[in-house]
Each structure stands twice: as structure tokens, then as C-alpha cells.
């Protein structure tokens, strides 16, 4: 099975994330890394490959600025076989529709070169956190979307997941080729081993521009986005309120008095 994993390079959530003057996310001035939620996607792809124990391959695909190479490299260190980085200044400022378009075009090119059976994505990015790109890529590729899997099994051509929906726990399945997305409940992601880090240096890594995947520069990017940000504002930091230390029941009393004063009781 040829597996493609989509990963995103995101600003570190513990860093000072902020916007540029054109309201795009500053993706260069803040330390970035492979989105934590995409590590689960890489992990599941590797587990599927290991379980199949055949000629299966895992190719990691990232669309992003130059530094996004780091996200691809980390995935290679975890055990993926090859990397593709779509990097083009014209992509900057793309919204989810633009990003999913570029991803779908890149997946089609990978397919034309080596074929693909399964695309694996994380449940959402940790910066935009919309959680819609897997569904959009599935829609664009015209293949089933088996999404938000918390438990994944692959049997022959069937991918089956447990999906913890809003009101029910469902079993969902589809036949490859398809797009799979996995949650952070799907299984702890592995750390790159020393051996993995050394091996990654020799793994094939390609960088593609928009023209390599047949996308015009005016089809994506900030000016072609389907949405527009009008304004952003930092939320005023919350100021710490009253803190009391519990001594023999004083904490509970003070807590209930506070709640009563705010009319919660």
C-alpha cells in the first residue's frame, strides 16, 4: 500500500503566536515545528505499513514555507520513507480551500509517479485548527473520507475506524483509495530514534513549486483566498483575581461565598 501523510509546519503553541500586518499568521518569526496532531497521522501510517509488512511505502507531504522542511524531516526521522515539500511564495496566505487544492494537486502528482492508496491526515492543525482540510482533500480527490478515527484497522482494501461522534460512537469503513484522518486518541506517536535520525539523512526528499504540480500562482495565496480577515485583536490578558489558601474549611466557605456573590447559587 502506498501511503501519503499530510503534515503541517506550525508555530509553536507555547511561543508568542501572532499576526502579520496583512493578518496572516507569522510563520517565520516564531519557532515552528511539526504539528503535534500530525504526529499521530505519521504514527498511524507507520503502524499500517509495519502491520502489512510488505512493500508498502510512506511518503510525507507538507505545503508550507521553507522552514516546513523541518516537519518533513522529523517525519522521515520517525520512519517515513520519502518526503515532498511544496514550497512557493505564491502559496502564502492561502485559506483552507487553497491549501486543500494544493495538497490534492500534489497527491495527484505523487499518484502519477508511484500511485497512492491511502492519504492519512491529523484531525486538525494546532494553529488554524479548523479541522476541515481532510474532508476537503477527500472531496477534491473524489474518494471516500473516513475521518476522525480513534482506532484504525486495515484489512485488505478496507479501512475501518472507530469514530467518537458527538452523540454516538460509530464504526465507519471505506475501500481504498481513500482519505483517513486520525485523532489524538489513536495511539501515542513514537520519538525518532538515533538510528532513525541518521537514516533520515539519506532518504529522498523533493521540493516542488506550484508549476511542478500544475497550479497557477493566481489560483492560491492571500489574494485568491475565499475568505478575508478584516481585523485581529489581542485579547486583553485576564488579570488574576483573589486567591485564598484553604485552612480547615475556609477555602470551601470562601468559594461558595464567591459563587453566591456572582449569583451562581
Amino acid at each position: 500500500m502506498n501511503i501519503v501523510v499530510c503534515v503541517k509546519y506550525v508555530p509553536d503553541a507555547t511561543g508568542d503566536r501572532h499576526f502579520e500586518s496583512d493578518y496572516t499568521v507569522d510563520r517565520v518569526g516564531v519557532d515552528g515545528l511539526l504539528s503535534e496532531l500530525d504526529e499521530y497521522a505519521v504514527e498511524q501510517a507507520l503502524r499500517i505499513k509495519e502491520k502489512l509488512d510488505d512493500e508498502s511505502t510512506v511518503t510525507v507531504l507538507s505545503v508550507g514555507p521553507e522552514q516546513a522542511t523541518d516537519a518533513v524531516r522529523k517525519s522521515l526521522q520517525m520512519g517515513a520513507d520519502a518526503g515532498v515539500h511544496v514550497c512557493d511564495d505564491a502559496i502564502a496566505g492561502s485559506d483552507a480551500l487553497g491549501t486543500s487544492f494544493v495538497l490534492a494537486k500534489a497527491i495527484e502528482k505523487i499518484g502519477a509517479e508511484s500511485g497512492w492508496d491511502l492519504v492519512v491526515c491529523g484531525m486538525a492543525s494546532t494553529d488554524g485548527s479548523m479541522g476541515v482540510v481532510p474532508a476537503m482533500v477527500s472531496e477534491r480527490l473524489g474518494v471516500p473520507g473516513v475521518t476522525l478515527g480513534s482506532e484504525i484497522t486495515v484489512e485488505n482494501d478496507t479501512v475501518r475506524i472507530r469514530r467518537d461522534g458527538d452523540t454516538a460512537t460509530e464504526t465507519v469503513e471505506g475501500t481504498v483509495p481513500l482519505v483517513l484522518s486520525v485523532t489524538d486518541q489513536s495511539g501515542e506517536a513514537r520519538y525518532p530514534s538515533f538510528k532513525g535520525i541518521m537514516a533520515a539523512k539519506k532518504k529522498p526528499m523533493q521540493t516542488w513549486s506550484l508549476s511542478d504540480i500544475g497550479v497557477e500562482t493566481n489560483q492560491v495565496g492571500l489574494s485568491a483566498a475565499w475568505t478575508s480577515v478584516q481585523d485581529t485583536a489581542a485579547r486583553p490578558p485576564r488579570t488574576a483575581g483573589e486567591i485564598v489558601t484553604d485552612e480547615e474549611g475556609s477555602g470551601a466557605r470562601a468559594l461558595v461565598d464567591f459563587l453566591a456573590s456572582k449569583k451562581f447559587i
Partner: protein, 320 residues
């Protein structure tokens, strides 16, 4: 006035509160039209609620042939209604399924998509949305510039206003392609009702974390005394102490209640992302250095196993 399509979220015809919030928002933008996909029985039950909260029109779609498939058929049905009605906007409840329906609809109709809006206001041209991003540290105002504005809205983003609509029902028969019927739902186990308010809709949320040590009884007891929903931090969920569907944080639910009580939760960024926009925040934690105390309106440094049972007793006394 243009129609505004609202995808109805319901369980066997019981319309969820967030759907009534969407109808209220829809009335700001145009004429609310509910899109009700379900069985004939469900339609009968839901119609009354939808009319009560202002639906001028209700498109009913029989789901007999599509209910065993994931999101795709819903997106196709909506796309066909968009083509037919050229609505001012399409509103969908933000949630795992709602966002995927919206994403597919955006691709199908070549329209812009905004997710997780916490407010939507009518403006010249297109509605302007407010979102809370980067773990609640920023608010963003945005609008859709291409196609039909497709907006998913978080629960608790508006107060539902009862305002009798015309409630004219119209059966709509979509053409659902085979392509949309490829992700099959082969089994479905409804989640057991806890008897407590829904986490994302509750006015008060009481949650527990690592500090519970696995014992959620004090948290649940305090929640019940306040009529609150129960939440859990990722640490508690990962330890297997509480089900994932109750997780508050970046990879769980985002809540924005009137009151959030964090117990034995340190307050890591991932947790803050899920609760930082709560109106009033209270914390109980043994560690006075816990970062959660930077956010609180009121905090108690103490052992939750002592503080919560005592507080529960006092709340119950006061309520008489």
C-alpha cells in the same frame, strides 16, 4: 429578503439548542430556512421547535437512503439547496461532523468557509464573523469574499429567541450520487446520557484533572450541586479516568460557559485553549504555582478532595 439556510442538528427529531441559536442568528441575516434531514417521525417532532424559534421555511429531506453514510450526502443535499435558493449564508453547528459537512460544501459550491464563529453579524456585502483563535488569545473578524458564505458557529454564541416563524414545510428530494455513499457507517452505539447538561451548551462547567488522582466523585458531586456539566483535562482522559467525550481543550471540546471551575488542573496551553473564553473562571489546586491561577477570578489553594465535598454541602444547604 434572501433565505439563510440552517442545517438542523437533531437526535431523532429532538432539535439541539445550538440549532435554535443558529435560527436566531439567521434572522439577523435574512429569512431563516431550516434544512431538516431525518426520518418522517423525526420531521414531525422537529418542525414545532424550528417554527417556534423562527424558521420561515423548513426543507425536509428523508434520510432513509443516506443515513448509513458519513457526512458526504448531507453536503450534497445542502449544495443542491444552495443552487436552488441562492441563500445569503449557510449556517452549521460547529462540531466534528458539522465542520466536515461545511468543508465539503465549500468545495462543492466554490464558496468561502469560516469555522468556529462565536458571533455573526449582518454587514453590507457579507456577514462578519468573530472567532477566538490561538488558544483564545486573539479575536479575529472575518468575512467570506467568494461564493455563498458558509459559516460554522460554536454552541452558546447567541441566546435563542423564541419568535414564531411561518414554518412552511417543503419536502425536498435530493439526488445523492454514489460517490457520496462510500464511507459507510456499519455500527453506531449511542452515547449513554449522563443526566447532566451537555458540556458545550452548559452555563456552568466543573472539571477535573490530574489532581483528582482518578477519583471524579468530588468533581461530579460539586457539578450536580450547581446543575453543571462535568469536564476533564487531557491528563485525566489520557489516564483513563474520564471518557474522551468530556475532554476540554485543544483536542477536545471548547467551552465558553458563564462559570468554569477547574479542579486539580494545572492550566497548560492546550487546556486553556478549550476554556479561556469562559466568563468567570474559578480554580481549586494544591499547587499555588499552577499557571491556572493566572487566569482565575477566584482561586483556592487547597486539596480538592477536601474543598469540593465541603463546598458541595454548603451549596446544597443554601439551595435549601
Amino acid at each position: 429578503m434572501s433565505e439563510v439556510l440552517v442545517l438542523v442538528d437533531h437526535v431523532d427529531g429532538a432539535v439541539t439548542k445550538p440549532t435554535t441559536e443558529l435560527l436566531t442568528i439567521a434572522a439577523r441575516l435574512g429569512e431563516p430556512s431550516a434544512v431538516l434531514i431525518g426520518s418522517t417521525d423525526a420531521v414531525e417532532v422537529a418542525t414545532q421547535t424550528l417554527t417556534k424559534f423562527g424558521a420561515a421555511k423548513i426543507y425536509t429531506v428523508d434520510d432513509a437512503e443516506t443515513k448509513d453514510f458519513l457526512v458526504s450526502p448531507k453536503a450534497e443535499i445542502l449544495a443542491q439547496l444552495v443552487a436552488r435558493t441562492s441563500p445569503a449564508a449557510v449556517l452549521i453547528v460547529s462540531g466534528g461532523e458539522g465542520k466536515e459537512v461545511a468543508g465539503r460544501l465549500a468545495v462543492k459550491t466554490d464558496s468561502g468557509l469560516i469555522t468556529d464563529a462565536v458571533d455573526v453579524q449582518a454587514e453590507e456585502g457579507a456577514p462578519v464573523t468573530t472567532q477566538s483563535v490561538f488558544a483564545g488569545n486573539y479575536t479575529v473578524q472575518a468575512r467570506v469574499t467568494t461564493g455563498t458564505p458558509i459559516i460554522t458557529v460554536k454552541p452558546n454564541s447567541a441566546t435563542p429567541e423564541a419568535s414564531e416563524g411561518a414554518g412552511v414545510t417543503e419536502a425536498f428530494t435530493p439526488t445523492v450520487s454514489d460517490q457520496a455513499k462510500t464511507a459507510r457507517v456499519t455500527a453506531s452505539e449511542p452515547r449513554k446520557a449522563s443526566g447532566r447538561p451537555d458540556l458545550t451548551e452548559a452555563a456552568i462547567v466543573v472539571s477535573g484533572g490530574r489532581g483528582t488522582g482518578g477519583d471524579f466523585a468530588p468533581v461530579e458531586g460539586f457539578a450536580d450541586s450547581l446543575g453543571a456539566a462535568v469536564g476533564a483535562s487531557r491528563a485525566a482522559v489520557d489516564s483513563g479516568w474520564y471518557p474522551h467525550s468530556f475532554q476540554v481543550g485543544q483536542t477536545g471540546k471548547t467551552v465558553s460557559p458563564q462559570l468554569y471551575v477547574a479542579n486539580g488542573i494545572s492550566g497548560a496551553i492546550q487546556h486553556r485553549a478549550g476554556m479561556q473564553t469562559s466568563k468567570t473562571i474559578v480554580a481549586v489546586n494544591k499547587d499555588e504555582e499552577a499557571p491556572i491561577f493566572e487566569l482565575v477570578d477566584f482561586g483556592v489553594v487547597g486539596d480538592l478532595h477536601a474543598v469540593l465535598p465541603a463546598a458541595t454541602e454548603k451549596v446544597t444547604e443554601r439551595k435549601g
